[in-house]
Subunit: 264 residues, 2 copies
C-alpha cells in the first residue's frame, strides 16, 4: 500500500481517552493502510470534556515519532485543542480526513453532546475537513475490538472517496464484541434519550460534604430509526451530525411572541 | 412583588464566568422580581469549557446565602455541573426556568458550540427545563449593561408564561451599550461563521516551545436572518437552539453509500 507521499491522503487521528488508549492504537493500525497518518492525542484522558478548549494555560506539544508516512505527537490539551494544533502547528494545512476514537464507550444518543471524541470531529467539520468519530459500546479499557476492522475502514474509505456535505460529519457507534456476528451498518438519527443524574454524596475525613456525579441512561425513544435501537439490535449506527444548532421549526412560533414587550 | 413562596416560580441561575462576574450579578438582579432565585455558579471562570462535565474529581458545593426567596451556592465544577448540582442536590426538583449569563462576550454564531453559558442552557433543556442563555457582545469585565434590563426580563417573562417546545432552548445575544438605542429583538438562525485559529508560539525560559490559542472570527454568511447580522445591526438576537444534532437531510444520501463494503 506504499505509494508516493504526495499521492497518499493525510489522515489526522485523535481521541479523548489519551494517547495510551487501546482504542486509539487500533484506529491508528486501521488508518495506516489508507494514508499518511498523523496522530495528535492528549497526554491525559479527557472523557466528558465536551467541546472544551484551553485558553488560560499554554499548550505543549511533544514529538513521539516522525517519519514519512507516520507521525505521532502528544499534547496537554483537550480533543478540540488536538485538532487545532494538528491543523495549525503540526500540518500547517488541512488533512484530507480527521478520525477520532475508537472511544471506549458509546457516543450514541445524547452522549454526542458530552463527548470529547465527537467534539474533535465537530471541530474538524467546522473547518471543512471530512471527519468521523468511532466509538465502541464497551467501556472496558481492554475491550475486544477484533470485529471493528472492516466497518471502520470501509466508512473511512468511502468518506475519503466521496467527501461529506459541508457542515456534516459522522458519528459511528459499534456494538460490543459480545454481540457478534453484527448485522451490518444502519444510517440513523440521534435517539432522544438522556442521563438521569444521581449524585453520590459523601463526607470527607474532615466532615465536609462532596459529590460524585453518577447517573443512569434512560431511553424513552421507541423509534426503530435511532442509533440506540441500532446498537441494541446488533447494527453499527452511523448518524450524520451537524453543528448548526438552529431549531428552524421553532422560529415562526417565536415570531408570534411579544418579545419586545410592547403593550406590556 | 413578594408573593407566597409556593406561588412564585423557581429560577435557577448560573453562568460560565464565575460567581464574581458582574454579568451574573446583573442577571440575578433582573430575575429576583420574577421569582424565587437560586444561584449555583462556579468558583472559577469556565469560559470555553463547552459541554464539559466533571467525572474524575469530586464536586464541592458551598452555601453563600440562603433565605426564603434567594439562595446562592458556589461549586468547583463546570457550568453543566452547576445545573446538575442545582437540580439534584440543591433543589431536589426541577426549577421553572434556568437562565445562564449574562456572559461577558458574544455567544452568537459558532460560539454557541464552545460556550459554557450555552452548555448550561442545553443541559437544562435536555432535562425538559425551559432555559435561556444571555450574552452581551462586549468582552470587558466592566461592560456597561444598563441597556439590557427590559430585553432580559421580557424574554424570561414570556418563557415563564408560555414555556418552550420540548428539546428547544434560547440563545440570546445583546449588542454592546455603545450601539444604543437598540432596534428591538430579532428571531434568527445561527450564522455560519467560524474562528480562524492562529497559535502564538513562544519559547519558555528553558527553551521549550509552548502555544497560546488565539484566532480571529470570520463570517462569510451574508444572510440577513442570522444572529451575527442582527448584532451588527443593533438588534438583540434570539436563536432557538436544539440538541438533536442529526443532519436529517444527509440521511438519504448516506443510505446510497456502499458502507457495508459488499462488492468491494
Amino acid at each position: 500500500m506504499q505509494t508516493k507521499n504526495n499521492t497518499k491522503p493525510t489522515i489526522l487521528v485523535t481521541n479523548d481517552d489519551g494517547y495510551f488508549a487501546p482504542g486509539l492504537r487500533k484506529l491508528i493500525e486501521l488508518m495506516r493502510p489508507l494514508g499518511r497518518v498523523v496522530v495528535v492525542a492528549g497526554e491525559q484522558s479527557m472523557s466528558g470534556m465536551g467541546h472544551a478548549i484551553t485558553i488560560t494555560t499554554p499548550l505543549r506539544l511533544k514529538t513521539v515519532t516522525k517519519s514519512d508516512d507516520y507521525e505521532e505527537y502528544i499534547c496537554n490539551g483537550t480533543p478540540v485543542d488536538c485538532v487545532k494544533l494538528g491543523e495549525q502547528v503540526v500540518l500547517r494545512a488541512k488533512p484530507d480526513l480527521l478520525v477520532s476514537g475508537i472511544n471506549h464507550g458509546s457516543n450514541a444518543s445524547i452522549n454526542v453532546i458530552y463527548s470529547g471524541t465527537m467534539a474533535a470531529v465537530i471541530e474538524a467539520c467546522i473547518d471543512d475537513i471530512p471527519a468521523i468519530g468511532y466509538s465502541l459500546a464497551d467501556w472496558s479499557h481492554s475491550a475486544d475490538m477484533r470485529h471493528v476492522d472492516n466497518y471502520v475502514q470501509n466508512i473511512a474509505r468511502q468518506v475519503l472517496e466521496k467527501g461529506l456535505p459541508k457542515g456534516i460529519c459522522l458519528n459511528v457507534n459499534i456494538p460490543p464484541a459480545s454481540t457478534i456476528p453484527l448485522r451490518g451498518i444502519k444510517i440513523c438519527r440521534q435517539s432522544h434519550a438522556r442521563w438521569i443524574e444521581e449524585f453520590d454524596s459523601r463526607q470527607d475525613p474532615r466532615g465536609a460534604e462532596y459529590h460524585w456525579l453518577t447517573g443512569r441512561f434512560e431511553n424513552d425513544d421507541r423509534g426503530e430509526d435511532t442509533d440506540q435501537w441500532a446498537l441494541e439490535n446488533n447494527y453499527v449506527s452511523v448518524v450524520p451530525v451537524q453543528y448548526d444548532l438552529t431549531a428552524f421549526k421553532a422560529m415562526d412560533m417565536l415570531k408570534t411572541w411579544n418579545l419586545n414587550g410592547k403593550g406590556n
